[in-house]
Symmetry: C2
Subunit: 215 residues, 2 copies
Amino acid sequence: MTQTNQIVRLKNGRRTEIRHQNETLILQAAEKVFAEAGFGGATMQLIADLAGLPKANLHYYFATKEDLYRRVVHNIFEIWLHAADVFEEAPGPVEGIGAYIDAKMEISRRHPAGSKVWASEVMHGAPVIQDYLETTLREWTSGRAALIQQWIDEGKMRAVNPEHLLYMLWATTQHYADFGHQIETLNGGAPLTERQWKEAKETVKQIILRGIGAI
Amino acid sequence: MTQTNQIVRLKNGRRTEIRHQNETLILQAAEKVFAEAGFGGATMQLIADLAGLPKANLHYYFATKEDLYRRVVHNIFEIWLHAADVFEEAPGPVEGIGAYIDAKMEISRRHPAGSKVWASEVMHGAPVIQDYLETTLREWTSGRAALIQQWIDEGKMRAVNPEHLLYMLWATTQHYADFGHQIETLNGGAPLTERQWKEAKETVKQIILRGIGAI
DNA sequence: CCACAACCTGACCAATCGGTCAATAAGATT
DNA sequence: AATCTTATTGACCGATTGGTCAGGTTGTGG
């Protein structure tokens, strides 16, 4: 089975490459349009125009608008989830939470569109990824909450509710993507500079790490 | 002019009452639908059904979908803005920021739909309230930032970037409305209880006030 | 070179959208 | 009771939507 698939893939290298390239192109355009207009406001025509393809071509690769949307959301969810790998290996809250804040701030900076799509999906009741919330995310959360509790028991930080601390981390870091337009407006219409991003990260880390008594 | 208007209003009491009642009814339904479906996903028919009125009746009170949406957003913005009156009268960060967190958490709890509409509007580039961001909100923000800076100068709290502190306050409190569905899912599918809301408020206040060195 | 499969796309369609309008009902004014 | 204004609504309309499909092109294996 695996061998056959590999042979086919080698022989059809050109074909699968075309498919992969076009799917990526469409997914990137879709992420942008969904972020800017929301699921309801986005149209297949807009996505097609941004991708530089005829609309019918989109439906060749993605059967429905919802299928395309689902793929976009799943891609973001993966990035979102793996940003927390730094959490596990850390010896304590200073390193673990500090690195997590850095990682999530970087996601907000590098993938603002994806973050908005994710926020929008959850805000509208998670019609597409409800099962993920109930399985993967729930496990992830209780795992990290347990780790935080362990740090508390070991005297590495003050006793705070781990769940609410996690919500604070999500909220604060995600804010820089979701409300990026508001921040930019309040910043005189200009995006945050390299220095300002650094200051944002430092401020958030300082307040939270000090707030939980880790430093 | 004023006297004439008053006479007219008294004489037309019944009429203006009908108008006021229907506008309120429509605005409440619209807030809910816009929050659940976004501007693009919301339809006048859905709003009409939720309000229990024929669609044509909506257009009698609100010329266009955008007019209706604009009114919903403005209403939220007013609530949002006046929540910060507590800020000004406070002698220091413990009272000022503490009360502000309480007020904003209460808004997230009592007006989750409105908060989502506001978040959605900003997330999509504030097409309707961009002027408000550039005028009212900008003044409001620089005013509060100056007050925070004053507290810092008076030694009432540590030196942190006031803007980023404000963003943290907005993000954290608003999160309980915008991501309420996610929180509810992680809470076993049940809304936060009275006790959990209280714990959320306390955790947020503790971490932030301690994080800025105010307690 | 042929046959087959994957890829591409202009033209088209039913459904739904925001919005209009003429006709009617209800309330207020004289 | 006559008259005027406001409120109500079913029927309707042009525009746009997601999605389909037939027919053509391109790449691949034999």
